[in-house]
Symmetry: C2
Subunit: 153 residues, 2 copies
C-alpha cells in the first residue's frame, strides 16, 4: 500500500471485531432499505385508508404523511410505475396484488415492532414514533425474536 501501513488490526477494542466486508454489506442493506421505506409507508397508509375510509385519496395521504399534494402525486406516480398501485386522473387509488401483499407484510412488521416496544414498557407515543422508523430495518429473523419476546410478556 501507500504510506500508512496496514495498521495491525488486533486492538479488538470493545469486541466489535467486525470485518470490513460485513459492514459494507450492512451499509448496502441500509441503503436498499431506505429506498424501500417510502413505498412501504405509502402502501401501508393506502391500505389503511381503504379499510377505514372506503377509499384512498391523495388529500388524506398528504395530511397523514405531513407533505404537500404535489409530493404525494409524484410519489404515487413512482408507486404506479413500480406496480404497487393503479391510479387514474382525479380518481382514488387502488392497490395492485403486489401492493396489497406489501401492505400486509408491512402492517405485520409494524405491529410486531410496536407490540414489542409497548411490552418493553415504552409509552405509546414514543413507541409509535420509533416503530415507524425501526420497522423498515428489521430482518425476518429479528422480527421472530421480537414477536417471541412480546408473547412472553
Amino acid at each position: 500500500m501507500t504510506q500508512h501501513d496496514p495498521a495491525p488490526q488486533m486492538s479488538a477494542s470493545t469486541g466489535d471485531d467486525r470485518s470490513p466486508d460485513m459492514r459494507v454489506e450492512a451499509f448496502q442493506g441500509v441503503r436498499a432499505a431506505r429506498s424501500r421505506e417510502l413505498a412501504e409507508d405509502y402502501v401501508e397508509l393506502i391500505a389503511e385508508l381503504i379499510h377505514t375510509q372506503g377509499e384512498a385519496r391523495p388529500v388524506d395521504i398528504a395530511a397523514r404523511m405531513g407533505v404537500t399534494a404535489p409530493t404525494v402525486a409524484k410519489t404515487l406516480d413512482r408507486l404506479a410505475r413500480d406496480g404497487l398501485i393503479t391510479r387514474a386522473k382525479y380518481r382514488s387509488i387502488f392497490l395492485t396484488e403486489q401492493g396489497r401483499a406489501l401492505a400486509h407484510e408491512c402492517r405485520h412488521r409494524h405491529e410486531i415492532v410496536l407490540r414489542f416496544l409497548l411490552s418493553l414498557g415504552l409509552d405509546p407515543e414514543t413507541a409509535e414514533r420509533d416503530a415507524e422508523g425501526i420497522e423498515h430495518h428489521v430482518s425476518e429473523r429479528t422480527l421472530a425474536l421480537l414477536a417471541a419476546f412480546s408473547a412472553q410478556n
Copy 2:
C-alpha cells in the same frame, strides 16, 4: 362515495387530539432521522478509522461504505459545511468537537442496539446489519429500555 368525512384537520396544535394522527409526527420524525443517518454513519466511521488507523482517508471510507470516491468527497463537503469535520485538499479528515460528540453518541447507540440484538439470540451478521439500520431510529427512552434488557441477560 361522495364524502370521506370533513377531515378534522384544523390547527389543533394545542394538544388533546382525540383521534390523534400522531403518525404525522412519526413520519416527520422519520424523515428527520433519515436526513441525519448518513452523517451519523460517516462520523462514526471516521472516528473509528482515526482510532484504528491513526487517520481517516477518503479511500478507506469509500471502501467501508461501499460507495465511490466522488460520492465520499461530496458527502464530506456536506459534513464540513455542517461543522462536523474539517478537511483540507489532499489531506486526511478531522472531526470537530461537534463531530466527535456525535460520533461518541452514535457509537454508544450502536453498541446498545447491537448488544440488545445479540442478547436476544440473534446471529452476529444479522445483528450487525439490523443494528446499522435501527440505531438511527431509536429514541433515548427506547435506548434505555434496550440497555436494561441486555443487562438482565
